[in-house]
């Protein structure tokens, strides 16, 4: 059985985390979710994701510290920053992230950026 590509969602807003999890799952991706950077690190300890969707402002451990810790560990899956900041590209550049999504975003923007890093997900997947 071929495993699905795994996406890690690190987002402290539980509603958005649940929505993203459901959408990515319906896109035929495997999803791990974490409510902050620290939970994100322990998720990565279990399995290495093909992509990380990372909120920046979170309690306990924010996106900046999470990215620094990944760098320190020398393991760095592609990261897409999700942020409500006026200039999302700046937050992405801050941590050397590979991409960004400005909140609010829609399915087309989400699927476009996921496709950029994961490629053709599944020929039957209803990815717009």
């Amino acid at each position: 059985v071929t495993a699905r590509p795994l996406v890690l969602v690190v987002e402290d807003d539980s509603d958005l985390r649940e929505l993203l999890g459901a959408i990515l799952s319906l896109m035929d991706l495997d999803v791990m979710s974490a409510a902050n950077g620290l939970e994100g690190l322990s998720a990565i300890d279990r399995r290495t994701p093909a992509l990380v969707l990372l909120d920046m402002r979170m309690p306990v451990m924010d996106g900046w510290e999470f990215a620094r810790e990944l760098d320190r560990r020398g393991m760095r899956p592609p990261i897409v920053v999700i942020t409500a900041a006026p200039d999302p590209s700046e937050a992405a550049a801050d941590i050397g992230a590979e991409g960004w999504l400005g909140k609010p975003f829609d399915l087309h923007e989400l699927s476009a950026i996921v496709r950029r890093f994961i490629g053709d997900i599944h020929q039957d997947a209803p990815l717009h």
């Binding site: 059985v1 071929t2 495993a3 699905r4 539980s14 509603d15 958005l16 649940e18 929505l19 993203l20 459901a22 959408i23 799952s25 319906l26 896109m27 035929d28 495997d30 409510a35 939970e39 409500a84 909140k103 609010p104 975003f105 829609d106 399915l107 989400l110 599944h122 039957d124 997947a125 209803p126």
Partner: protein, 188 residues
């Protein structure tokens, strides 16, 4: 759904509408990657994951179970099992244990999650599998969430030729069952 949209504010309206579209497209045709697996293994994995979460609940246990081989998309069925166990934990705040067991009848493997939590009010039980329906919205037991978990869980069970059923009594607890066809000896 309107309730979820107003609650989630405009930042997520578009995503909620998108999720509805996506859910209607995939209804009945979720892609599955099947393998043979004992449902007990899946139950244990789901319980392990819930217990290792930061808000761990050590009141959750897999009780004596029967081996039951199913031909399923393991990550997806694990997701369903985890969802059922997480719901049981969420709606049993500080009360009672949560038992997970696997049984089989002549046709189905059954993963059962039993809690002694707050239960679901009778008048709301008919709608709990609707997307964005939240049975406890606006009550003291509103623990958040957008209300997509059980909908998606049931879609996954249905895609496997199974289903999810439940019994619940307010103030007494709930029992949820995921039923999946037992795999044939020939791998079917």
């Amino acid at each position: 759904m309107l309730e979820a949209i107003s609650r989630a504010s405009d930042r997520m309206q578009s995503l909620i509408a998108d999720l509805m579209d996506l859910a209607s497209i995939t209804e009945g045709r979720l892609a599955l990657r099947r393998e043979r697996v004992d449902l007990v293994e899946i139950a244990r994995a789901a319980v392990h994951q819930v217990r290792s979460a930061p808000a761990a609940s050590h009141r959750v246990a897999v009780v004596a179970s029967e081996a039951a081989t199913v031909l399923v998309d393991r990550p997806r069925v694990e997701h369903v099992a985890r969802q059922l166990v997480e719901n049981a934990v969420r709606y049993s705040p500080g009360r009672g244990g949560i038992e997970v067991e696997v049984r089989r009848d002549h046709r189905n493997a059954i993963l059962r999650v039993r809690d002694e939590g707050i239960g679901i009010p009778a008048e709301r039980q008919g709608r709990i599998f609707e997307p964005f329906y939240r049975a406890h919205a606006g009550t003291p037991h509103d623990f958040g969430g957008v209300g997509i978990g059980l909908y998606l869980a049931r879609q996954i069970a249905l895609a496997h030729g199974g289903d999810i059923r439940f019994e619940s009594a307010e103030g007494v607890g709930s029992t949820f069952e995921m039923r999946l066809p037992i795999a044939g000896e020939d791998g079917s």
